[in-house]
Symmetry: C2
Subunit: 155 residues, 2 copies
């Protein structure tokens, strides 16, 4: 399948998902032009605030391939990914991203990803999310043990 066909598939998923009571988002993970996994927004159905189409497709693709590294795969999203999904794309090391609608189109439909993008660019103290830090010294112990772990799997 071509990039355009794979993106059209993600768009088809987004349209069909609205009819099924879900959010207007779809995503496809493909490798060598073949679909590995698909995802749609299931936030309200699953009571899972992280169940965005991209996260769903990434999780399923990683499960199917039996590895968390999807660097040989490409993500096709019906809409520009929000910061959470973009973070997931980086952690999964996806090779490339194609998307159709923009975050501004999403905002027009009531999804304010732009707010989260703005918040992330601020320091914790500047954000609207009340944030406090405590116990830093105690927490460093986990990192010390991690570095000492000879058989750790880096990710």
């Amino acid at each position: 399948m071509t990039h355009e066909q794979l993106l059209e598939r993600a768009i088809r998923l987004s349209i069909d998902n609205v009819a099924q009571g879900g959010g207007p988002f779809g995503a496809v993970v493909a490798r060598g032009g073949e679909i590995v996994a698909e995802g749609v927004n299931r936030v309200t159905a699953l009571h899972d605030p992280t169940a965005h189409a991209e996260v769903q497709a990434i999780r399923l693709a990683a499960q199917k391939l039996g590895r968390f590294d999807l660097s040989d795969c490409v993500l096709y999203a019906s809409c520009e990914p929000c910061p959470m999904c973009l973070g997931a794309i980086y952690w999964a090391r996806l090779g490339a991203l194609y998307y159709a609608a923009t975050q501004h189109d999403a905002a027009d439909a009531g999804f304010d990803d732009a707010f989260i993008y703005r918040e992330l660019a601020l320091t914790p103290a500047q954000r609207r999310l009340p944030t406090a830090t405590l116990c830093r010294e105690e927490a460093l112990e986990a990192f010390r043990r991690w570095r000492e772990q000879a058989d750790r799997i880096d990710y």
Copy 2:
């Protein structure tokens, strides 16, 4: 439990998780000082690049409470959340965030969240992730149908 005790619980989870072969991260979602759900990093064990401690705790808390809105809950994380987890925190509308170690401590241990923070602040064209846009007009149809959906659940 106090904020400090809840954060100490998240830190304890992060330390124990290293011994169990997982990443050095733990998180707790609490409501009114009571633990609702706990999470540890399970990326390598589950082959799930999104299975960070915070995401795991948020997903479990939302499932337990039967709703995606956790605005009456607080997240305690052993380390400053990465952009993916911070995005999840905003989508879950958590009321507050407490964390212990910083993203710089995480970077010292080999987890380069800072790279993802820098990438998110760039435009798609500037990012190291190859990104392309296609088919925007076709994708707007999902948003049109979403707006027409009288019984939609906004989130």
